[in-house]
Amino acid sequence: MKLIWALIRRDLTLATRQGGGAGTAIGFFVTVIVLLPLGLGPDQALLQRIAPGALWIALLLSVLLSAERIFQADYEDGSLDAMALGVVPLELVVLAKAMAHWLTTSLPLAVVAPLFGFLINLDPQDILPLWLAMMLGSIFLSLLAALGAAITVALRRGGLLVSLLILPFYVPCLIFGVAASRASELVQPSLLILTALVLASFVLVPVAAAAALRAYLK
């Protein structure tokens, strides 16, 4: 697996050198959160009730925003062609790219998200379950973002299509993620189902995304 780690390490250095990745996503996230009280009014009780859901939706949209860039650069500069000729199956390349995107964008977001909960009066004892659920859910979000990116890699205005294609897949993750965030105790059914979703996507998404990339390489 040294070969896969080379790809993840390269993407990490690229993200840190170019910056932008986590920064813009967190910026977008905070903007969405700030808009909520402006739109719904400063009623603390209302905000507290919708806080976990709102944080999850903002996280989901922020990851979606950065989805398009996962394969774009590699497709345009020919790296994808060269990687397809590597000994590493394309499925593992997709997994590595998705993990790199998770480490550079979704994970920082998931770590930071509950901290911005105070803006919308998040109940403090909800912070820990929210954190745990978001850490887990963000993997699923990144993997699906990678699938959306693979499907629209060569399209000019792919961004819109990615959202339309991927949001239906985000529905289960949102439902179980928010349920797990409102947990009385940490580990309970919705968190387990969320884990199941993550594990299932670990297997299914790379296969589908690799097939999509192959369609563009052909």
Binding site: I151, L155, L165, P168, F169, I175, A179, A208, A212
Partner: protein, 240 residues
């Protein structure tokens, strides 16, 4: 290797099948309408509004059945590399999307008199809504990619992935629904459906299915014609 299956055989088949299909479809609709509007009894609770069921339920069934057949066609196309299967899925998508839309509209028209709200986050209606998004996503893929062969490869993946997503969404929305509301009051015509209610439902479902098959054959004929048109135009350009 994508040898273009000769469509002549399919076109001849469509030519012979279409007239009888249209005939039976009209009969089925006539019988179905008569039975659902006249012979079926009003519901003891809902009164006449239960008749909306005869257009709502078949549309919902068809929306799911058409998406399932699109996924099946995509799997067939992936395994047997048969381009007609891709075209069948592409042709079926708009028809399925229309059924889905009709299921949602009639569902909300049924919900308004029953619960006083145009849209109720009932588990089934929500799943059908997500299904509509899957249809739109699938159709958008064909629009977004010019090269037909490449579009077919991508559309297959979207159809199959979407198909895997449908039960997951259904499960999560049911679970979510039980979390926020009690089991929805929206029972489909009580525990055992009265025979006089069941027959119109089945006849209407049959009519919808026949209409789908007929429209699918015509739409596939158009897809073949469109591909032929594209090749004629390309051949035209190459000549100059």
């Amino acid at each position: 290797m994508q040898k273009f299956a000769n469509p002549a055989r399919f076109l001849k088949l469509a030519e012979t099948l279409l007239p009888p299909i249209w005939g039976v479809t009209i009969l089925a609709f006539a019988a179905g309408l008569y039975m659902s509007l006249v012979t079926a009894p009003p519901d003891y609770q809902q009164g006449e509004t239960v008749r909306i069921m005869f257009v709502h339920v078949p549309a919902a069934w068809m929306a799911l059945m058409v998406y399932t057949s699109m996924a099946a066609a995509s799997i067939m196309a992936a395994i047997f590399r048969h381009p007609l299967a891709d075209m069948a899925a592409k042709a079926a998508a708009p028809i399925g999307a229309m059924f889905c839309l009709l299921a949602l509209i009639t569902g909300s028209l049924w919900g308004k008199p029953m619960w006083g709200a145009w849209w109720v986050w009932d588990a089934r209606l929500t799943s059908v809504f997500v299904l509509l998004l899957l249809y739109l996503g699938y159709m958008a893929v064909w629009q977004a990619i010019e090269d037909p062969h490449r579009a077919a490869l991508i559309a297959r993946i979207v159809a199959i992935a979407g198909f895997i997503n449908v039960p997951i969404v259904k499960f999560s929305v049911d679970w979510w629904n039980s979390l926020h509301q009690g089991a929805s009051v929206f029972r489909m015509g009580g525990p055992t459906i009265d025979a006089r209610m069941l027959w119109p439902l089945l006849i209407m479902a049959l009519a919808y299915t026949l209409l789908f098959v007929g429209l699918l054959l015509v739409a596939m004929r158009s897809e073949i014609a469109q591909r032929k048109l594209r090749q004629l135009r390309l051949a035209g350009i190459e000549g100059r």
